[in-house]
């Protein structure tokens, strides 16, 4: 049972990360490689607020999301005028710089040693210590994120974002302020990334810079690409695939020191195959409105 709950919690947290990235990369078409670092911002903010500033857990949790959102906003505002692949590299750069900050600002973050002894979340007087309780609240957050992302993607806002993704010049010619929509997308996604990072910190009860580096970033990316760009059920599927792979590799008896790189190797192959054969992922992006009414052509 505890194995299952651990699996569940990991999937939930990962799905939250993937949902946020899907909004930015799938619906928004922006390869924001700082997403994992934003999760780190959320984690450190929330954990430090609880442990050093004695904030109530919920406030700290939300503050983590908020600070990550603001960081995303700043990064977006600065980098979004760059062309797609340069934007990706610039956000990668930001991610690395954030990682360096976590590692080197020792007085605040304890650097590579990380912060152990993170307390369990406490909500409405209850301490959510058991994995089941944690799974419950994370599932709620995930559900909210999922519904929010889907509603946004289906709304006129999402329609404009898709148009900007598909053809930014044409969208500009129609008077859409492309930069504004994109920054909004990154900010909202950043919020969910921050919450996910914080949730991870409160679940594992330990955070360190390594958790939020390039490894996590690529993993989330693979999950999103696997499930399908712009398809939010797909992000859940991708999360399931990723965590499932992780558990499967340990299960088949791969020696522990090989599990990490083995997983990375398999994920890299999956990513490569996806890019060559199915770059948009398994599940297609759902259309905005219901398909043609009966009697209409096409």
């Amino acid at each position: 049972m505890s194995v299952f709950l651990h699996f569940l919690n990991t999937v939930l947290i990962f799905a939250l990360l993937a949902t946020g990235l899907n909004l930015v990369a799938g619906t928004g078409g922006m390869l924001n490689l700082s997403h994992a670092a934003l999760a780190g911002v959320g984690a450190y903010t929330a954990v430090l607020l609880v442990m050093k500033a004695q904030w109530p857990w919920l406030a700290a949790f939300l503050a983590g999301g908020l600070l990550a959102a603001i960081t995303g906003l700043v990064i977006g505002a600065v980098t979004l005028r760059l062309r797609g692949d340069y934007f990706a590299l610039a956000t990668l750069g930001f991610g690395v710089v954030a990682h360096a900050l976590f590692n080197n600002w020792i007085s605040l973050t304890r650097g590579p040693m990380g912060i152990p002894g993170v307390p369990a979340p406490s909500l409405l007087g209850l301490t959510l210590r058991s994995p089941a309780a944690q799974a419950a609240y994370i599932a709620v957050v995930l559900a909210l994120a999922f519904l929010t992302a889907r509603r946004l993607a289906r709304s006129p806002w999402g329609r404009a974002l898709r148009a900007i993704r598909d053809d930014q010049f044409a969208a500009l010619a129609l008077g859409k302020p492309a930069l504004r929509f994109k920054v909004e997308a990154i900010t909202i996604a950043g919020f969910f990334a921050g919450l996910a990072g914080a949730a991870q910190g409160f679940y594992i009860r330990f955070i360190d810079p390594q958790q939020f580096g390039l490894n996590l970033m690529i993993s989330i990316l693979v999950a999103v690409l696997f499930g399908g760009l712009g398809n939010y059920w797909g992000s859940l599927l991708g999360a399931l695939m990723y965590v499932g792979l992780q558990h499967a590799l340990s299960y088949i008896g791969l020696p522990p020191h090989l599990v990490g790189s083995g997983q990375q190797a398999i994920l890299s192959v999956i990513l490569l195959l996806l890019m060559i054969f199915r770059p948009k992922g398994l599940l297609p992006e759902p259309p905005l409105t219901r398909p043609a009414k009966a009697g209409e052509a096409g």
């Binding site: 980098t79 692949d85 690395v96 360096a100 890299s268």
Partner: protein
């Protein structure tokens, strides 16, 4: 004064390593318009193969065993580089830039994980004799470091002649300039591309081995190396080999000056900061021509 000189020497050594990687990276970018993010890992493959070959003899490595190791490393890197071109970039020719970028990153990570699984995750160095540094004007430089400078200088001269004075070089320049036109002119574009990958990978192998001599190697360093190469290339001007080399030396200088001022703590992210700043301020680099980005349609 000796501090300044030491910084210069360290910068030159670091710069040499980076410029070997950056030159290869630029060659590929020039011909394929692709950011070959597996380049650093190709370098690591060469380094690890060299290491394994040298270990066959056991004990300390002599110049002879190093040379054999280097040769093996170069062959390995060339093989890997050509395979990557064949199986990753060629199927994706004409695909959107982002797709290729993600694929390149995927290949890089794949190579890295294979290295980690076969060679382990510990930091390694070539087992060479302890070096007595030469003292020049208060600063120190070891013979191996001098070798790095010498080898790089030699290779760049060779590269210059290859690109500018040979028939192959002319073909490479033609393809870099306009692949469609080159094809129409009868130039075997696929073969030239393969040759470019082979040469770049060879350069990468040398960079990897040299790094293993003067610093150390580790599977995760491949990505670090290629990001630094990319930073150098962006700094010096995308698509220009002299620019890449100058950018690499500039990067080496920034790193060492920065490390000195911050007691080494911020040395690692300096390359990324440079990259970030360049991308934001002047993506065409210090030397490069404007990429025409302002012409949006």
């Amino acid at each position: 004064m000796d501090v300044a000189l030491q910084i210069v020497i360290n910068s030159l050594v670091a710069g040499s390593l980076y410029s070997l990687a950056a030159a290869g990276f630029t060659l590929i970018f020039g011909v394929l318009r692709v950011a070959h993010f597996a380049h650093g890992d190709v370098a690591m493959v060469g380094a690890y193969v060299a290491l394994a070959v040298v270990a066959l003899w056991g004990g300390q490595a002599s110049v002879g065993t190093m040379a054999v190791g280097l040769g093996a490393g170069i062959v390995a890197s060339m093989a890997v580089g050509v395979l990557v071109e064949r199986w990753t970039y060629r199927p994706l020719r004409g695909a959107p830039a982002m797709q290729i970028l993600i694929a390149a990153i995927a290949v890089a990570r794949l190579l890295q994980s294979i290295l980690q699984m076969t060679a382990g995750s510990s930091i390694q160095m070539f087992p060479i004799a302890q070096q007595a540094p030469l003292v020049i004007g208060g600063a120190r430089i070891t013979p191996v470091q001098l070798t790095v400078l010498g080898v790089s200088a030699l290779l760049f001269t060779g590269l210059y002649f290859l690109i500018n004075r040979t028939h192959l070089g002319a073909q490479i320049r033609a393809v870099a300039d306009n692949p469609a036109l080159a094809r129409v002119q009868g130039i075997p574009v696929e073969r030239v591309t393969m040759v470019v990958f082979a040469c770049s990978s060879a350069l990468a192998a040398v960079a990897g081995v040299l790094q293993g001599l003067v610093i150390n190697i580790h599977p995760a360093m491949g990505f670090v190396l290629v990001l630094k190469a990319f930073a150098a290339v962006v700094l010096g001007g995308l698509g220009s080999i002299p620019g890449a080399i100058i950018g690499a030396f500039a990067l080496g200088l920034f790193e060492n000056v920065g490390a000195w001022y911050t007691s080494g703590i911020w040395k690692e992210p300096i390359a990324y900061l440079v990259l970030l700043l360049m991308l934001l301020i002047k993506p065409s680099g210090l030397l490069g021509r404007s990429t025409g980005e302002e012409v949006k349609l």
